[in-house]
């Protein structure tokens, strides 16, 4: 098993454990927006097909690659909608988390998008591919943590009832 596969298994397993440990919290407490759920579903879908290949020790190709790439536009769309309509975080913790989430999304999308332009040679392409793999893994974990309620919840502003 490749080092990336081991890392992916650890990160995704850790995310699942964290979500299960936080099960007393209301699932999706901070992901009430439809966009958040869409983002999560698209990310899980795209990630699923990619990680099947990763855990098989294969290069992502064939039908798995096709499914992965067809779900990519959904992820881009969902994240864009979220970015447009998600209210600015209330509380530094939540805003910081959102900034991280959006940054990971930008890295995952950008590293894949830039590969499609004739800007980078073989080494650049390989670098972008690695950037895509790691940022996507981190994005998937972050989205899972948010959906599972582990992610920093909205901090009530002063004067607001909790």
């Amino acid at each position: 098993m490749s080092s990336y596969a081991i890392l992916a298994a650890t990160v995704l397993g850790g995310t699942l454990v964290a979500v299960l440990a936080a099960r007393r919290r209301r699932l999706g407490a901070d992901a009430a927006l439809v966009g958040s759920w869409c983002t999560l579903m698209a990310a899980i879908g795209a990630g699923l097909f990619a990680f099947i290949a990763v855990f098989r020790g294969e290069t992502l190709g064939g039908w798995l690659l096709l499914a992965h790439t067809l779900l990519a536009p959904l992820l881009v769309l969902a994240m864009t909608l979220e970015a447009l309509f998600r209210p600015l975080g209330r509380g530094w913790c939540r805003a910081g988390a959102d900034a991280l989430l959006m940054s990971l999304g930008a890295a995952a999308i950008g590293s894949m998008l830039f590969q499609m332009f004739p800007w980078f040679g073989e080494e650049g392409q390989e670098l972008l591919l690695q950037a895509h793999r790691y940022s996507s893994l981190a994005l998937l974990a972050a989205l899972g943590l948010r959906a599972g309620g582990v992610w920093p919840r909205e901090t009530p502003s002063s004067g607001e009832k909790s």
Partner: protein, 617 residues
Amino acid sequence: MIFRFATLLFAAAACNRAVAQEATGEAARPLRSDSRAQYVHRITLYDATGVAIDPTRASAPPYSPRATCGKCHEVGLIGHGWHFNAGEGGPSGRTGEPWILTEGNAGIQAPISYRDWPGLLKPAALGLSEWDFTLRFGRHLPGGGVAHPDQPAAGERWGISGGAEIDCLVCHSADQQHDPAEAERQFERENLRWAPTAAYGLATIRGDAMKLPDDFDPDAPPNPDYPDLLPPRVGYNRTLFDGDNRVFFNITRRPTADRCNFCHSVQTVDAGGLGESSAPAPRDVHEAAGMSCTDCHSNGVDHMITRGYEGEAEERRQPALAAFTCVGCHLPDLSSPRNMDAPPLAARQAPRPLHRGLPPIHFEKLTCTACHSGPWPEAYAHRSQTAFAHGLGVPTRARTVESAPEILAPILTRDARGKIAPHRLVWPAYWATQEDGQRRPIPVAVVRKALGLKESGSLEPLREFNEGELLEAIEKLMRETKTRGQVVYLARGQVHHAEGQTIVSGPDPAADAVTWPLAHDVRPASQSLGIRGCGDCHADDAPFFAGNLGTAEDAASGAGRVISEYRGDDLRFARAFHWAIAGRAAFKLAATAGLVVIGLAALRNLVWVMTPNGRRG
């Protein structure tokens, strides 16, 4: 009788060779100049028995490259190199171009080889002895190996013609003084042992060994009853000899491409006609850049010439060979200590390709040659003619566009390592008996006799049999072979046999196409697949997937097949992928806009966190 002569001749030759080698100390240590400068070869000529040749003698024998060059060079070791060792049964390496036994009017084009490459028949299976093989294909054999057997078979005329020794000058002549086409003319006359002398223009040869009777004894004195029954006479050109009877050989260690091209020429022929190979401009980008074949296809004294394919270094357990592949030269690992071992490559300054925008998966699925070599893939395969198969290099008026065998290219199919690479393809066509579950090819001579055909040579078009002709031919062959089973005809991937008065046809693995990878001519980056974008390959009508396995005529007759189907691709996937690729431009636009929005949102949140309001929250 002939066997006795042959045995005597070869025993004497072997004995003399051993004596000559011992005398010159070849086995102990070859004579060396150890200079970068080319040694000037002004040398004495020796005959096959190791005796110096006196050109003034009326009965002077032909010179022997083995005895002459063997004075200083390790001819024994050289004789096991790639060009000569097919019959030795050693490793075969990557599949290469087979010989194709062609009898157009008998419907035969059978790929054969002494090497163990998949799908090929052994020459003996079609009734070809080493003698027959040498006469038929000697035009493009450098001598040695099967053309110069140590143990000549009984009943063959080796004793009269002599074996075809390795003619070093086929490759190592630095100029055009060596004429391989003249050697071919001598082969046609069975003057095997005289061929090197004639080819280098050292002498004119008068007489034909083929006209001598089978029981002719070359060592016997002239027969007073038949005074004209003499072996070919050698009339040396005395102006080539100096006062000490030495001859200047203009020899090079690094043969020019012209020497290689005599045997390794290929031309693409289509309805437009022949003659493409006569175009004056170099057709391979490396040749155009001033390189020679031997810059990459080099060798040591063992003459195991580097073939330059991926995996060769591992197969031959010589890691240094990896430097002589496309990747080794154009994408070398500069951090590797081995890189320092290859100064000539660095000196060549091979351009390092950028492959901008090309997803890395392409390097796993395709060889470099898939995008860079051979004719540009089009809707239909092109007919190719090669020196081995069509005798390119030998002047003839008989060669036409339709001349058999039918070799098609480029065929983008998987190689032995599972990567897609351009190949040449030929459909085996031959007759066989099928008895007790065993299928045995019928020797060509038997087919000719049964069908009442003369030898067609190899340049007639391949005959297409209609059902009636096929039935008639099968009936004649049944009678001739006296088989208890049935006679079948394999052609175009099908096996045909008679059931009553009907021909029944069906696919059969033995009739599958034989393919071999092609690596040249290499096209420049500006003419490589993908230069116009992904659509060069990833489109429903792109030849990479939708190209036809046959020519336009094959497709018109319904005999064509789509390349991706032949390759075993998942066509549904290919179509779906092309559909996805078609939406790529729109996706790139939308994703760029999305990326900007997401990036700004990330920035907005970050700025907010850093403001006093955010920090207070």
